[in-house]
């Protein structure tokens, strides 16, 4: 009787032998229990390793990772190079408008503000900058309508304006509010990356980064570091699959 090496048996188990050798091993297995037992080690370890690690595929990809990769892809598609950008954190509640004219800070310096103190600040000087900051005007029916209806990955022109609106992803924050990360391109070619959450029956814009873009739109990757930090801070859940997103949006109506 032919004595097959462990390597031959392993290759048999993995389908890595040629037909002739496969037939030889197969024949020997019919009458050699010891050989079957040795082969079983290789078959079972394969089966068990596969079964053990398969559930990892079902684990949701963290929102920050998925969104970050999505942005890289969009930036590449747009053929855009990263540029300097400014961060403008603001809360959506009314506050002392004259307290600050506006916030334009380098990303690193403003991170703590963007993440920690959103509710307390307001980007007051909305008229001073065209385009991008209009997104702060959550009173805009067009924006509210878009937030409630546009699905992730889709892009529309906001009614009554020349602004392009697209949704990057939909998720729930640590309080289980429905939140949407979206971008708005203005005619002046700046792009606002923003997060709005649905709270007490209305959308609230909680975070925004203004990124000077080029005509192709899309925010450069450098302007998204603050966003990533923000998403991590609110414990953003994984982006919803399309069906779940539709259900969640339906539930708001």
């Amino acid at each position: 009787m032919t004595d097959f090496s462990d390597e031959i048996l392993m290759r048999f188990a993995d389908g890595e032998l040629d037909a002739e050798m496969t037939a030889k091993v197969g024949q020997a297995l019919e009458s050699d229990d010891a050989l079957v037992a040795r082969l079983a080690v290789f078959i079972e370890t394969r089966v068990q390793a596969h079964a053990t690690l398969t559930p990892l595929l079902d684990e949701p990809v963290p929102f920050t990772l998925a969104a970050s990769v999505q942005r890289m892809i969009e930036a590449k598609r747009a053929g855009e190079r990263p540029e300097a950008s400014s961060v403008i954190p603001f809360g959506s509640r009314t506050a002392n408008r004259s307290w600050r004219q506006h916030w334009v800070l380098p990303i690193a310096a403003s991170l703590a503000v963007a993440v920690g103190g959103l509710a307390g600040y307001l980007a007051a000087d909305r008229t001073g900058r065209e385009g991008g900051l209009l997104v702060a005007g959550i009173n805009s029916p067009a924006l509210r309508q878009a937030l409630a209806s546009v699905v992730s990955g889709a892009q529309v022109n906001l009614a009554g304006s020349e602004e392009r609106f697209r949704v990057i992803g939909t998720f729930r924050n640590d309080a289980q509010d429905l939140c949407r990360e979206f971008e708005v391109d203005s005619p002046d070619s700046s792009t606002v990356i923003s997060v709005a959450c649905h709270l007490n029956g209305d959308w609230q814009v909680n975070f925004a980064v203004v990124a000077p873009g080029d005509s192709s739109g899309y925010a450069p990757a450098s302007s998204t570091e603050a966003l990533d930090a923000y998403l991590a801070a609110i414990d953003a859940g994984a982006p919803m699959p399309a069906e779940e997103e539709l259900r969640a949006l339906d539930a708001l109506r």
Binding site: E7, E16, A40, T52, P55
Partner: protein
């Protein structure tokens, strides 16, 4: 043919779960894994011109991620960074409280996989989990095919020793023996 579906950016998002599983299994930490995945995507997008159309996208991505991981290990060694052993043991602690019972029976296998030497675990992953051929695995890891086989055999022997994986089939076969 360079159809749209062949482009790296069109395949990347759908491939994230696989890439992430590979990364988690390699490094045993979700945080490090997510960084690795992000860096791998960045590198892939920047080097798309090196991706040969018609070849396996998954193999190309795994190769990029594996290279980044090797660089990372090297850096950690240089920096004297201590690996968090507890994190490594968390590889298949995927479902949290979910499916507690199923996990109990599988924990020993996931533990055994986590305990394998890095070079044994990665060949096991690529062949037995990602179902690459020996040749493809050799290409991804940039090692000879003979090395793939010897590492793979060792990985599986270790796995079966620490988990008793092979016992049942061998015994049940023995019972039927007409002697």
């Amino acid at each position: 043919m360079t159809g749209k579906a062949d482009r790296v950016e069109d395949q990347l998002v759908a491939f994230l779960p696989n890439l992430r599983r590979f990364a988690i299994s390699l490094c045993g930490s979700r945080d490090i894994a997510d960084d690795l995945v992000q860096m791998a995507c960045e590198r892939a997008l920047a080097n798309e011109q090196h991706f040969e159309r018609g070849t396996r996208f998954d193999a190309w991505m795994f190769r990029i991620l594996h290279n980044l991981w090797i660089d990372d290990i090297r850096k950690r060694k240089t920096a004297g960074h201590q690996e968090d052993i507890d994190e490594r043991h968390d590889i298949a602690g995927v479902s949290g409280e979910r499916e507690m019972e199923a996990r109990l029976t599988l924990t020993s296998v996931s533990q055994a996989i986590a305990d394998l030497a890095d070079e044994q675990r990665e060949v096991l992953l690529l062949v037995c989990v990602e179902e690459f051929s020996y040749r493809e695995t050799a290409d991804i890891l940039a090692i000879p095919i003979g090395t793939v086989m010897s590492r793979l055999a060792r990985a599986r022997r270790n796995l079966s020793l620490t988990t008793g994986i092979s016992a049942a089939p061998a015994r049940s076969d023995g019972i039927k023996r007409p002697e």
